[in-house]
Amino acid sequence: MIPKLMRSGVLLSAALAIVSLVPSVPSQSAPGLTESELKAVFLLRLPQFVSWPDEQSGTIFCIAPATELSSLLQEIVASEPKGREVRPLLPGQINNCDIVFGSLSDTVEDLAAVRGVLWVSDQPGFARDGGMVELKRNGARMRMLINLKVLESAGLRASSKLLQLSEVVGDLPEDA
């Protein structure tokens, strides 16, 4: 009784609309979170939208110690059963890390030589200057700038959902 063709058309157009990339628009900030808390949330969530070249059981966060963010992360990770870990960012031990939060100045090794490590920073211009994911403060909101070429050259892949929320900077990957 109900025309099926019409309904399939509706379905198709709806699906297309949802999966299409939409430009980000300014909106109100997430309520009640400090900047550090927001950064912690971003760091903790990132592994869920990024795939590593080798399967790993837990995620090791490496971060400069004695910061508000590191203690916050430490606190959160300690309270959960997951195999996540927060370590101090030490030179020469980057290979053990899955996610590194630091500035370009902290880069002790050539980024290109280090595979399988997601490099995140809140340093402005980080992504454009050869970092992978830059957390950029925009009013009350936090935005991500992703240098996809650098990210992928490290053997990582960012989920489309992540890219949807982020701004891609720098050159596009050659295979893209």
Partner: protein, 656 residues
Amino acid sequence: MLSRVRQQSIHRHLAKVGAFITSLVGGIFLVVLLGVSLVSSREELLESTSALTSVLASNLTASVAFRDPATAAELLSGLDAVPDVLEAMLFLPDGTAFAYYRPGNLPSTNLPDQGYLETLTIPVQLEREQIATLRVKVDLWPVYQRLIWVSLLAALLWLVGILAAYILSRTLNARITQPLSALAGMMSEVTDREDYSRRFSYEQNNELGLVVDAFNELMERTEDREQRLKAMITALVKARDEAEAAARSKTSFLANMSHEIRTPMNGIMGMIALLQRGELSTQQRAYFETIERSSEALLTIIDDILDFTKIEAGRLVLIREPFDLFDSIASIEALFVETAKQKGLALKVDISQAVPQRIVGDPGRIRQVLLNLIGNAIKFTDQGSVSLSVRVLDNQTLPALKFTVADTGPGILPEDEERIFGEFFQADVSLTRAHGGTGLGLAIAQQLVTLMQGSIGYAPNPVGGSHFWFDIPLMEAPSNEVLGPAISALTASQARAEMARLGRLTNTDSADAAPEVSEKKQIGSSAYELNVLVAEDSEVNQFIIRELLVEWGVNVSVVADGAAAVEAFKSEGFDLILMDIQMPKMDGLEATRLIRSLQRKESINTDCIVVGLSAHAMSGDREKYMAEGMADYLTKPIRPAALQAILDACLKHQVE
């Protein structure tokens, strides 16, 4: 008309049945289809919406995870392409609203909580962790609306279908009912015209064909039967006509024979009467009396046969007149007294006090029945008594007179009781030999009583002997009516005949009895000073009457036909005319009519009376003669006593 009505009703009935079945099946089909359609389209909508929102929920994970409500709202706005979604809300696990969507054309007020709003709740999961809940409100109203339209359309189609089924059914049924109505029409035609040669033609081999075959078979048989019936009826009518003709010729033969026998008997009797007047030895007188009795007996038999044939032919007409019942019974008693005494029998008459003296009826016929019953009783009873009792039966709807004649004779055998009133029946052949008789007496009595609307019967006398009874409707005569003198005259004139009949009835010695010497009959010697005209064509009768009248000193003139009689009446003053009924040229009735007319209109000889002479001894003729103006009539053969009684009556008439 009736068949048309019936046809239409079958026609319509079948069409209605067709339409009803169509509507029922179609209705059920429609209801099921609509129900299924409602459920399935609702499920389909919810499922598709659910699938879309699941995809949406998956896409929302990042924006929820990274606290990006703007992107979430952006994603939600993709639902614009789904018009059935009226609202979408994204909740964080703590219950705070994260993102919100409404189609652009809807106001932002709260949606009414309607029955056709369905809420879908889809979890937003990130690696098995529910990070938010997406709640979508789906509008089912378009689905329902479509269904309503579809239902209306379906209902319309359903009604059209019923109508179409009805019309189609009627059209198709007409092919069945049309031959049926034709058959019904033929049936009523056959019934009306009784034309059984019709056949119905219907060439199809179905149930109706069987009916038609049966009908044609029935018609064939009916036609056959009808033809046989017609042939049978024709044969029966022919047989009946033949039988009736035979019966008529028998009756006619009997009547003719009786008449033919009477005519010579008249001569014999008249001559005997004349001879008896002459000087005879005692021996000769005894012989003559035997001849006379034999002749009387013969005449009685002939009279019986004449009566019987006349009744059988239905030509006997009863008269209704007032008369004195007591007188009648007294005269009957007087007739039998002598005979009973001779046989040593007691004759008793018992009339109930309730019986009226004067009644209305046919006195002659009542008398005939009574004479017959009493005559039989006396004839067959050798000792004891014969009794007549008359009672009034008023326990019935109409009062009736019941006459009972009881005797102490041999009675009737039980096996004969049924047959005694049949013609020619006689109780015992040996008795018949002894007593004679035609065997017609009781048959005549029964027919007379039946004619009088009464009944007659027999019952064994409890003290032995027979017990005959008859009853007739009782009609009391008004007391002021006077009996005419003609009847007295008649009674007198018939007395002699009845005496003769009695002799036949009661005398066991009958006609073949040994001669017996009786005292010489004394006829009154005083001369009648009367002028009498005799109109009679038979010379024998002329001779006899003339001889008798001359001997009595009567002045006699004789003519041979009616016309001469009228002429003679005009020219001479006669006191009495003896008028034969059957004469050449002008018969006695015609002549009498002319004479009476002359008497009335021209006052010619008004004192003259006319008395008929008839060879027909049949009752019923008498009324005819009276109607023509005759004062009385004499039955031939003329008996001296009867003639003398007429002369006496005439003299008396003149004195008055």
